[in-house]
């Protein structure tokens, strides 16, 4: 049986803490919706109770037959519609603002799998079901799933995004109040779905600096470099001269020309796809079927490490901050690559 009522009520919470820059504006809309709903509910309840009582059945009092009223029908269609337009516009505006993270956002990687959240930081440290962020700093989460659909949710920040297997999802927030807040998976993902939850710790700058001691196994990019060598990637993707496969230096977040004439941006999603399914989008001038498929060979966390390595080969320059303005990088091969895939590049394990 539950603990005594007083104990229960001591814990009783009615409204969540608001600990991110997004939370306040969303709460404002929420309160607007509550007030509109409360007014509408009171009006309708009052009318129902009033009419039911005032016109209750009495002997010798007859109902007055009324056809209807076009004026009334129009009024009570248009006024609620206009109020709803406000909600629509307001909700869409906040949603738009939440779409694109600021350029200076700190990047953290989250992998959902049955049944835990694995968090990786650029410095190479990682943790499970816990996320540490500094106060006042925009943080962008790049999220992947190893298996089924999960959904990453921090109620105190009013943020949530599904983590769908097969591609990257992202969300971002700026925490505003140091403290511990719960995080959850809010998409049912199987047996231990309930335990796929943990804590976000928002730390002030000094505490964050103390906490972020750095990974003992090197930064995320260094971990990626190790994988790059262990898996034989470096035999074909030479770093400074043309091998059988494209040079990866300077490629990150740049447009790339494909062999079917399309141009894509070599962002996280493209690099992930090119590792797991290299033949999906082959760079112009290179042969398909040279690189083996790494799907099922590398975990999402390893892919994230590899991407961090590729990213580290393209140090941010003023030009790369502006995105869309550059011409496609045409990575010309020195000679036609041999058709046969070398055995050496088969993934280990």
């Amino acid at each position: 049986m539950p603990a005594s009522l007083t104990l229960l009520l001591a814990d009783l919470q009615l409204f969540p803490p608001a600990a991110s820059a997004q939370a306040g504006p969303i709460d404002d809309l929420y309160w607007f919706e509550i007030i509109v709903s409360a007014i509408m509910t009171v009006l309708i309840f009052a009318a129902v109770i009033l009419f039911a009582w005032k016109y209750r059945r009495r002997a010798n009092v007859r109902a007055t037959q009324i056809e209807g009223s076009n004026v009334l029908e129009t009024t009570w269609s248009i006024i609620p519609f206009l109020i709803m337009l406000i909600m629509f516009w307001w909700g869409a505006k906040l949603f738009f603002a939440a779409q694109n993270p600021p350029k200076d956002a700190m990047e953290v990687f989250v992998t959902g799998k049955q049944w835990m959240w694995k968090v990786q930081y650029p410095d190479g440290s990682h943790e499970i079901n816990a996320l540490h962020v500094p106060v006042g700093q925009p943080v962008k989460l790049t999220m992947a799933s190893e298996d089924v659909i999960h959904s990453f949710s921090i109620p105190a920040f009013r943020v949530r995004h599904d983590v769908v297997p097969g591609h990257y999802d992202s969300l971002w927030f700026t925490a505003t109040k140091p403290g511990r807040y719960r995080l959850y998976c809010t998409e049912y993902c199987g047996n231990a779905h309930a335990s796929m939850s943990g804590w976000v710790e928002v730390l002030n700058d000094r505490d964050y600096a103390n906490w972020a001691g750095g990974g003992s196994h090197g930064s995320l990019a260094e971990q990626g470099q190790q994988l790059f060598e262990q898996n034989g990637c470096s035999t074909c993707h030479l770093l400074d001269q043309q091998g059988r496969c494209p040079i990866l230096r300077g490629v990150y977040n740049k447009p790339v020309q494909l062999d079917d004439g399309r141009t894509v941006i070599a962002d996280d999603s493209y690099i992930r796809e090119s590792i797991l399914d290299p033949n999906a989008k082959v760079v112009s001038g290179f042969q398909p079927n040279i690189m083996p498929n790494f799907k099922g060979q590398l975990s999402e966390e390893q892919v994230i490490q590899l991407i961090a390595f590729v990213k580290s080969l393209s140090p941010p320059t003023p030009a790369s901050q502006q995105g869309g303005q550059q011409r496609p990088v045409v990575i010309a091969p020195k000679a036609k690559a041999p058709a046969k895939a070398p055995a050496a590049s088969a993934p280990q394990q």
Binding site: M1, P2, L8, D11, L12, Q13, F15, P25, I26, L29, Y30, E33, S37, M40, I44, F45, V48, Y55, R56, R57, R58, R62, A63, T64, Q65, I66, G68, S69, W76, F81, M84, M87, G91, A92, F95, A98, Q114, D147, V148, I149, S151, S153, P155, R158, R160, H161, D162, P165, G166, H167, R182, Y184, T186, Y188, G190, N191, A192, H193, A194, S197
Partner: protein, 543 residues
């Protein structure tokens, strides 16, 4: 009131009616009488309602303790089967297959539905579907939730997904056939003089529902078939590991399942229109608007499915469009609520049990509808998606709305269906208990939702316990509330006082024939000369 050519016999002893005309199980299992089939459906869906309800009581008990009482396996199976049983085997067929099946032919002056044998086939399909589903439960249950999201359902779940999917697939055809039957019947079998503008609003709303059933349900069948394909043959459709797209399933599923929400609520709106008119003794205010709004809901409901996917990474402008359309569909629902309220204005309102349920419906549907606006607005959807806020919202619409309407309609037409009266005092008491129990169960869930408590979890943080205990307390009151009508209806069938042909002094063809009706409803086809809801003073109708 419509004119019937023959004189209606008034409560003669031992009248022949559809219930006593034949006896024996064969006369029921091979019947093509829409009224007997409606009765078979009533028994079947009541059984399924108590199966689904028992599961709800069990998982609410689990939620008394933050760490849970049952294992997560058990809990996940309980909520999944609760959803599957309640949505596909109770809510979808509830009013259409019982009350509408019984009443549509009578209300339009016909002897039966257009396809009586297909009507029987639809009941058999329902029963086979239910058997598959119960079999899945008996084998150990299914743990995917009623939404069967891929790739969990198609690849990862180790439960009896195939039999449950098969059950829902088969029951879907029962729904399609019922809808088809209604559409053809309303088009082709109206009595002379029963023009479209004279149709009772209950017929209008079930006609709109029929369109949704026929156009939407095949898409559900396709989605479930694809799940089965992927599960059995590993054809890559939804699982990205074999080349599929998990979001595709959500598009397909909600393309049916959002209109299905209106399959579940439109018939209830029809019932409320009948009850409010009868117990206010007035024509429904703005008949044309109420009828038109049913059709508007039917059309718009096909264009809002994307609002289930605002946090999946759906394209931003797609989400904006679906948000806008979701607000649009709220307008015709609001029109209905305003018109029911206005109908009571200058009426002669009585407080019989069906009217109490109508009051309950208007209040709870209003709250359910308004909280839908929170979810149509993009930013607040992101904050509440996948939490108990959603659970509370759709239970306000489905249980507070549809189950209230179903019970109201059942009380209203019970004298017609069975020829017996029920104990009014008990019925009023039960209506009150259900209203209180319902609100205590589901209102705390709105608060839990904004606090962030995810739905479908068997264990939760301790700070949520107080509200969960309240909710479980409400659920036990609600459960008792549902048992009371079950008991007095069972009593009423055998022992209840005999009902007159028109105990409420209501208008409509169904009240002009004897209670219970004869097998072919009318000895001669009636000729309709007046509008629906042509209410005069009560004393002119009942002595």
């Amino acid at each position: 009131m419509a004119t019937i050519a023959h004189g209606t016999p008034e409560i003669a002893a031992e009248e022949v009616n559809y219930l006593n005309v034949e006896h024996g199980w064969k006369s029921w299992l091979f019947t093509t009488d829409h009224k007997r089939i409606a009765f078979l459906y009533l028994i079947s869906i009541t059984a399924m309602f108590f199966v689904g309800g028992t599961m709800a009581v069990l998982f609410r008990i689990n939620l008394l303790e933050p760490e849970g009482i049952f294992s997560s396996e058990t809990y996940n199976r309980l909520f999944s089967m609760h959803g599957i049983v309640m949505v596909f085997f109770f809510l979808v067929p509830s009013i259409p297959a019982t009350l509408a099946n019984f009443l549509i032919p009578i209300m339009i002056g016909a002897k039966d539905l257009a396809f009586p044998r297909i009507n029987l086939l639809s009941w058999y399909l329902y029963v086979f579907g239910a058997i598959f589903t119960i079999y899945a439960v008996a084998r150990g249950g299914v743990d995917t939730g009623w939404t069967f999201y891929a790739p969990y359902s198609s690849t990862y779940s180790n439960s009896y997904v195939l039999s449950a999917v098969m059950g829902v697939f088969v029951a879907g055809f029962s729904s399609i056939l019922t809808g088809l039957n209604f559409i053809v019947t309303v088009h082709k079998m109206r009595a002379p003089g029963m023009t479209w503008s004279r149709l009772p609003l209950f017929v209008w709303s079930n006609y709109a529902t029929g369109l949704l059933q026929v156009l939407g349900t095949p898409v559900l069948a396709i989605s479930l078939t694809l799940i089965a394909f992927e599960r059995v043959a590993h054809v890559g459709i939804f699982d990205p590991n074999i080349g599929g797209d998990p979001i595709l399933f959500q598009h397909l599923f909600w393309f049916y399942s959002h209109p299905a929400v209106y399959i579940m609520i439109l018939p209830g709106m029809g019932v409320i229109s009948e009850i409010v008119a009868c117990f206010s003794r007035k024509r429904v205010f703005g008949y044309n608007f109420v009828a038109f709004s049913s059709m508007a809901i039917a059309v718009l409901s096909f264009f809002v499915w994307g609002h289930h996917m605002f946090v999946t990474g759906e394209a931003m402008y797609t989400s904006v469009a679906f948000s806008f359309l979701s607000f649009m569909v709220a307008v015709p629902s609001a029109i209905k609520v305003f018109n029911w309220t206005a109908t009571m204005y200058k009426g002669s309102v009585s407080f019989d049990t069906p009217m109490l349920y109508a009051f309950g419906f208007i209040g709870l549907f209003t709250i359910g509808g308004l909280t839908g606006l929170f979810l149509a607005a993009l930013a607040t959807d992101v904050a509440t998606h996948g939490t108990y806020f959603i659970v509370a919202h759709f239970h306000y619409v489905m249980v507070g709305g549809m189950v209230m309407a179903f019970l109201g309609g059942l009380h209203y037409w019970w004298p017609k269906i069975t020829g017996r009266l029920y104990p009014e005092a008990w019925a009023k008491f039960a209506a009150l208990i259900i209203f209180i129990g319902f609100n205590l169960t589901f209102f705390p869930q709105f608060i839990l939702g904004y606090l962030g408590m995810p739905r479908r979890i068997h264990a939760y943080p301790p700070e949520f316990q107080a509200l969960n205990v309240l909710s479980t307390a409400g659920a036990s009151i609600l459960g008792i509330g549902y048992l009371i009508p079950m008991i007095y209806f069972a009593w009423s069938i055998r022992k209840g006082p005999k009902a007159p042909a028109n105990p409420w002094g209501a208008t409509g063809l169904e009240w002009e024939i004897q209670s219970p009706p004869t097998t072919y409803n009318f000895d001669e086809t009636p000729i309709v000369t007046k509008e629906a809801y042509d209410y005069g003073p009560l004393e002119e109708v009942v002595g």
